[in-house]
């Protein structure tokens, strides 16, 4: 039921447009991620949903209920939206014990003492903090505080859970464990969740769907695979994962393949592109470093489409793979290989289906 509709949100701070016609819909039980660099408007969007910021225009609704509608001057105060929220700083109240932190939302709802107690203990079990009910926040680690914050956000069965960069204050090891744990909890509870992060790994590994934002505007909405493999534009390609960007000019079309003359080297790159796209002229192509194959230069079996000779500028060993900085003509590329390919000169193969067109004059 709690499908979240965000429609045409606009917010300006002075001269700057923080939100520019932001729209998306979150489905029931989905973990939906707002991803983007700092200042892209993702936190403003989340705080608008929570009711801590007032957009200038647009509409926000959860299920049947309209939270905000500029046209009809509707704005429900934050405390009546029944949302659970976990802040970046956790915001666990330092003068209350773990138990009191979780009991507060229930006391506000005038539950009977005994009812409060059973419910709080139940949720403390859920977030695996039952043993710490009498502790104060300063006696807890960062990870434990986060669990308390999550418990406090869940204890009153909110319609929607909002997570504002909840992992950014944890160290790397703990962060990965917390991610898995939160994702599992969310799936078990089937709780509609909006998650804000600037960390693409977090977004890719946890989300059902991602909206990539930049400069206050939505860049792309899609599943992690869609966003990673078929970035809608140059910004998405560069922000989500690492990418090689190659400028060129469309030369010809051969069935499902588009042939592009790479500007910085005298090579022709074949790209898989739907036939109905009227792409022509100058284009920018994108492919991931791990999508290519490297071979020794003397490997004569390696020939054909998109297989070129390249000069190695630098090689770095990164544990589970090697990273090569190479030049094809004067076109620099960053590529990865699981195996070490010796030599100053090697061969590189770029599969046509690994390339996507991220910008072009149509």
């Amino acid at each position: 039921m709690p499908e979240i509709q965000v429609e045409r949100l606009v917010k300006t701070f002075g001269e700057q447009r923080a939100l520019d016609q932001v729209s998306f819909a979150v489905e029931d039980g989905e973990l939906f991620t707002l991803l983007g660099p700092s200042g892209c408007g993702k936190s403003t969007t989340l705080m608008s949903i929570a009711g801590f910021q007032q957009p200038d225009d647009g509409r926000i609704s959860v299920g049947e209920e309209t939270f905000f509608e500029a046209d009809h001057r509707v704005s429900i105060p934050a405390e009546r939206r029944n949302l659970g929220i976990v802040f970046q700083s956790y915001a666990v109240w330092p003068h209350m014990t773990v138990f009191e932190n979780l009991a507060f939302p229930l006391k506000v709802r005038k539950l009977k003492r005994q009812h409060v107690r059973t419910r709080v203990l139940e949720v403390l079990d859920l977030v695996e903090m039952r043993d710490y009910e009498k502790r104060y926040p300063h006696q807890l680690s960062g990870g434990q505080q986060q669990r308390v914050a999550l418990g406090r956000a869940l204890v009153y069965s909110p319609a929607v859970l909002l997570l504002d960069e909840p992992f950014s204050n944890l160290d790397a090891k703990l962060r990965e464990r917390a991610r898995t744990w939160v994702k599992e909890l969310q799936r078990t509870l089937g709780l509609t969740t909006i998650f804000v992060t600037h960390d693409q790994d977090e977004a890719l590994s946890m989300s059902d769907r991602i909206v990539v934002m930049s400069a206050g505007a939505v860049q792309q909405i899609g599943t992690p695979e869609e966003v990673y493999r078929a970035p809608a534009n140059r910004f998405v390609a560069e922000f989500v994962g690492r990418v090689n960007l190659v400028d060129g000019v469309v030369a010809a079309r051969e069935g499902a393949l588009l042939l592009v003359d790479v500007t910085a080297s005298a090579k022709r790159l074949a790209v898989r592109a739907p036939e109905d796209t009227g792409i022509d002229g100058r284009v920018t192509l994108a492919f991931r470093p791990e999508a290519v194959t490297l071979m020794p230069a003397e490997d004569i079996s390696a020939n054909g489409t998109n297989t070129w000779e390249a000069d190695v500028r630098a090689v770095a060993f990164l544990g589970d793979h090697y990273e090569y900085e190479i030049n094809v003509g004067s076109q620099p590329l960053t590529v990865q290989s699981l195996w070490h390919v010796p030599g100053e000169r090697i061969k590189v193969h770029i599969p046509p289906e690994a390339c996507s067109i991220v910008a072009g004059a149509t």
């Binding site: 405390e79 009546r80 079990d125 859920l126």
Partner: protein
């Protein structure tokens, strides 16, 4: 992750507060505006009537202004006042800044203790301190006579304008010290280290880096000190009378009290003029500073600072510092103590031969006893009420979406630059024109309490605001998300977390109300005396002994309350503020 069924349990919606947040915020705003700006309306009105407001009839006239501006003595008083204020400012700012640099940036021995002790003059009762100066350094004062009669050397006559500037400068020096110390704490000493690495000797660093960076703090404190000096009443009344040096404040005081035919219209006109000058100075000060620079929070980088070595100057400078503290703080207080237990204080006869308890016994008498009781009562009640109001107002100003919230900080700080006598006269007229309620306030000590509270509200605000600013906004947002309304969130989360600031505010307000006097001189009646006003009137009647005893009571209560506050509540009033 075992139980899932009951997690979807449905709960009733959060109970709504019976009092809408908007109404509470609006009421707070209205109360603050009415208390602080309200009294100026009757004051302006009174200055434009041809007869006092307590007489029936009366028509609009500019006569009070015409009379006042036509009086040469009034302009002469302005000349004296401006000369005095300029000298006071120079003394306080130069020495305050120098002490701040010595304490914050050098290896001066005992700098930690010095930086606390130097604050004493602003915490001790100002009228009592002036009395101490009079007793010791005044014409016929103990050490004045001692120096001239025994050692045959003259001392600076403190009943002249430079002398009065010295007394007032010593009292206001802590303001410059605090502002500069806070400025130094905020600036990164790496800037100075960089200059030294570049080859600049310490004094060049001081001249070309440290002092230029202090410029905002210097301008800020100079404007505030100048404003406060213009309105000083105790100094001209206690020191200026003998040589007939009149300031604007004492001119108005005399016009109100002494003249055979009191002229409330002209006094109100003069008060309006002072108010305009003080307001202009406040506007200049706000222009000089960014809005936020007015508040100083002692957070930020706490690194070990590389200190500027004083080398051979270490001990001589420390000795100078000590001598300054002894002469301006310790000796006046000791003088008061001595004065309170002798019949007369003179270097010609050993004090123990003149020993008497009679001054202290006089404190048991009517006026004195009532003053002490009244002061203690209004200090406790006033400190509680003012702290509560300022806490609420600070929440509205910084933790709400109330449309007019941005006006509150400006208004809350306004009384800091408003001369106490203006507040006194303003409340006098206010009580007069507000019927039965005003009559009740006018006839009881609560009217004086109200004036003292309003006068000192800025102190509560500068203590409260930095603490509130440090409480992360996410903490109360979490409360709102959990379903608590504005008031419930603040009562359960924000206020409990700002408890140290609430205590500090209470302690500071208690001390300030206890020691305040100038708004009261226009409001006291038989039965509603308070310590400061009694000291002033009794001193002018020549009762120096009992007045000294009363001042000692003030000093003692102040010291005890500050000490208890500091140890029990671990609060340090003025610890993080620029006064």
């Amino acid at each position: 992750m075992n139980t899932t069924a009951s997690v979807a349990e449905a709960f009733p919606p959060p109970r709504r507060s019976w009092l809408p947040a908007g109404a509470l915020q609006g009421a707070t705003w209205l109360l603050v505006i009415a208390l602080i700006l309200g009294p100026f309306v009757p004051l302006l009105y009174a200055s434009l009537r041809d007869r006092p407001l307590y007489e029936p009839g009366g028509v609009f006239t500019l006569d009070p202004y015409r009379e006042l501006f036509g009086d040469a003595a009034f302009w002469h008083a302005w000349q004296n006042t401006l000369a005095f204020a300029a000298l006071t400012t120079a003394i306080a700012v130069v020495f305050g800044a120098a002490f701040a640099i010595l304490c914050a940036r050098t290896d001066l021995p005992g700098r930690g203790a010095y930086s606390r002790l130097v604050l004493l003059p602003i915490l001790l009762p100002s009228l009592g301190m002036v009395l101490g100066w009079v007793v010791i350094w005044g014409p016929g004062g103990y050490l004045t006579n001692f120096f001239s009669q025994r050692l045959h050397v003259g001392t600076l006559a403190i009943d002249t304008i430079p002398g009065m500037a010295l007394v007032e400068g010593a009292r206001l020096l802590p303001i410059a010290f605090l502002t500069c110390a806070a400025g130094l704490a905020r600036t990164d000493s790496a800037l100075e280290d960089a200059a030294r690495s570049a080859g600049a000797p310490p004094l060049t660093v001081l001249r070309s880096v440290t002092i230029p960076m202090l410029r905002p703090a210097l301008l800020n404190s100079a404007t505030l000190i100048f404003t406060l000096a213009i309105a000083a009443l105790g100094v001209p009344l206690l020191l200026g009378t003998s040589r007939n040096i009149t300031f604007v404040s004492s001119y108005l005081y005399n016009l109100w009290t002494n003249a055979s035919a009191p002229d409330p219209g002209s006094v109100s006109a003069g008060a309006m003029m002072l108010l305009v000058v003080a307001t202009l100075l406040l506007l200049i000060r706000n222009r000089l500073l960014g809005a936020e620079a007015r508040f100083v929070s002692v957070t930020g980088r706490v690194g070990r600072r590389e200190l500027l070595g004083l080398r051979v100057w270490r001990w001589p400078l420390a000795a100078c510092f000590a001598i300054y503290l002894v002469f301006t703080t310790v000796i006046p207080v000791l003088g008061l103590a001595l004065m309170s237990v002798v019949t007369i204080l003179t270097p010609l006869i050993a004090p123990w031969e003149l020993f008497t308890w009679s001054n202290w016994q006089t404190l048991g008498d009517d006026v004195f006893r009532r003053s002490i009781e009244n002061s203690a009562l209004i200090s406790v009640v006033g400190a509680v009420l003012a702290t509560a109001l300022v806490a609420l107002a600070t929440l509205v100003a910084h933790r709400s979406r109330f449309p007019l919230r941005r006006t509150l900080p400006v208004v809350l700080l306004y009384p800091r630059a408003t001369p106490g006598i203006i507040i006194g006269i303003g409340f006098f007229w206010t009580f007069l024109v507000t019927g039965a309620i005003g009559d009740w306030f006018r006839g009881s000590i609560w009217g004086i309490m109200l004036a003292f509270c309003v006068r000192n509200l800025p102190f509560a605000y500068v203590v409260m605001y930095p603490t509130l600013a440090r409480i992360g906004e996410e903490l109360d947002r979490a409360g709102r998300a959990a379903g608590a309304g504005w008031w419930k969130t603040n009562r359960s989360i924000v206020l409990p977390l700002s408890r140290p600031a609430l205590f500090a505010s209470f302690v500071l307000m208690f001390v300030e109300i206890l020691n305040d006097y100038d708004p009261a001189v226009f409001l006291v009646k038989p039965g509603t005396e308070v310590m400061g006003a009694t000291m002033l009137s009794q001193f002018l009647q020549g009762m120096i002994g009992p007045v000294s005893a009363l001042a000692m009571v003030q000093v003692a209560i102040t010291v005890v309350v500050l000490a208890v506050g500091a140890t029990i509540f671990k609060t340090r009033p003025l610890g993080g503020s620029d006064a």
